[in-house]
Subunit: 165 residues, 4 copies
Amino acid sequence: MRKMLFSWIVALSLVLFGGVSAFAGDVVKTLPGDITLAQAQKIVAAALKKAEEIKVPMNIAVVDAGGNLKAFVRQEDAFIGSIDISIKKAVTARYFNMTTRALGAVSQVGQPLYGIEASNNGLILFAGGVLLVDANNVIVGAIGVSGGSVDEDESVAKAGAAVIK
Amino acid sequence: MRKMLFSWIVALSLVLFGGVSAFAGDVVKTLPGDITLAQAQKIVAAALKKAEEIKVPMNIAVVDAGGNLKAFVRQEDAFIGSIDISIKKAVTARYFNMTTRALGAVSQVGQPLYGIEASNNGLILFAGGVLLVDANNVIVGAIGVSGGSVDEDESVAKAGAAVIK
Amino acid sequence: MRKMLFSWIVALSLVLFGGVSAFAGDVVKTLPGDITLAQAQKIVAAALKKAEEIKVPMNIAVVDAGGNLKAFVRQEDAFIGSIDISIKKAVTARYFNMTTRALGAVSQVGQPLYGIEASNNGLILFAGGVLLVDANNVIVGAIGVSGGSVDEDESVAKAGAAVIK
Amino acid sequence: MRKMLFSWIVALSLVLFGGVSAFAGDVVKTLPGDITLAQAQKIVAAALKKAEEIKVPMNIAVVDAGGNLKAFVRQEDAFIGSIDISIKKAVTARYFNMTTRALGAVSQVGQPLYGIEASNNGLILFAGGVLLVDANNVIVGAIGVSGGSVDEDESVAKAGAAVIK
């Protein structure tokens, strides 16, 4: 029979912390101000709306301030290969706090950051990754879009990013 | 200056095919019957509803019939480490056409498939991955949930899977 | 002693579902219309015939609509290093619904998708990966060939792809 | 314009070897006696015949004496996750010159080789990988089968291996 992991941990916590469980909600687990799922869903919805307007099926990924995946959708007929690209675009934008277009510009052959894509388990160096900056001017994550031309991808990413500005 | 990929290819196609674009929608890019984004979003919504009911923050991933990611959400305070686990649970379920609970049962120490998790770039062997079977009795993908106890995870996955049955 | 996995699961199913096995074939496991092994074998045979005609030993890989390997052969004296290349060519073609030649053209130095090969665990950007489009105009997978010049590779891939058109 | 890789290499060879191309067939590229594609195809055909007899859809992989993939097929409805497992079974058998069943027996918890699956980018420790030994008693590769119970897998692998003994 399988034991429940957390029941066990909670029980252990009770022993270790004298009855005050580390899982009782008294610890803040997420940085205040980080992107919420509700925000991410609004961003994804706005990006989907734009993708439908321009009639290009897209992969859309949102990462939080820590660069970790928060939300993702793939439309019908969107490239399978763009699952990874859209996520990497969002990660790349947040990891370097600029658009993937901007990072790409300084990473071309002969440019200062040439070869940077070999780091971080793969970066993407073309447009479609855009920072998510909230109303308080705080970077709360990034959105990455892949499926069309790089300009189309970026227009969809910007449409998503616009809703929390 | 960056060229637009598809404008360029479409233009090339027009030249090559005498005005008949290879991108004019005349090729079916997705196998008929595969999970749609609308279905995936309904599944995710149902799973989120269950997660809120049981008050456990979850990572929820949906893959299509080919095992490729279709939709993903992470709730506030859900484990960052469960992003990968939820996706791998969905992939594992589809890759072996059974729940991760069922695969786990035969992969324990002393069981026939002991060590199977060393394959496929990592499998998950505990509950929370469930097949998505549509109204026509076709496997159209899988859902993977991670964030609580394995029983909680599986209950959320089943709540999601139930909506397309 | 090792137990038989499925006998065990079927037995369990009989207990759980009161005699109605979940493994009784009542669930459709493959999306209707996906490439069959018979088709893949015809494609491989046609590609092998072409490879023999041009006297270049080849690696030939076929993936299905989900981008998962369906069939593979390596001829005598074909490069060992081309096992992975031929498979990645097929995957690349399907992941972006175009030939690897077309994707390569827009991924060169100074082109829009420069650096894309850092995604998806490695893509191949030169000719030899071709889509498999069936008589109903549905993309059912892709073929990747590696072993000769890129033009030779592509001619063999096209010879394979032609048989299911 | 794309240059042909091999034309270039042949030209280079002519310079380097005084007119005698390294590609003129005067170098033996494959160890005499290694498995041929014709043999691999006979082995795969025999394995497929057995799989059809026992009515279990299988993934079947053949590697050569160097442990490199020579042939592969996946039947309709065979597990997607067994692509990797069947190949790893064949590789595991050849890498250690024994069946995966035999390696598995000495790699269980408490056994001498416990944990060995963490090496070689993943090994498989259950039955279904069998050596290919030819009429001269030479190991010329291995066959790996995955899709059913481990006993079913091994019976199909043995049916394949039998044809070149």
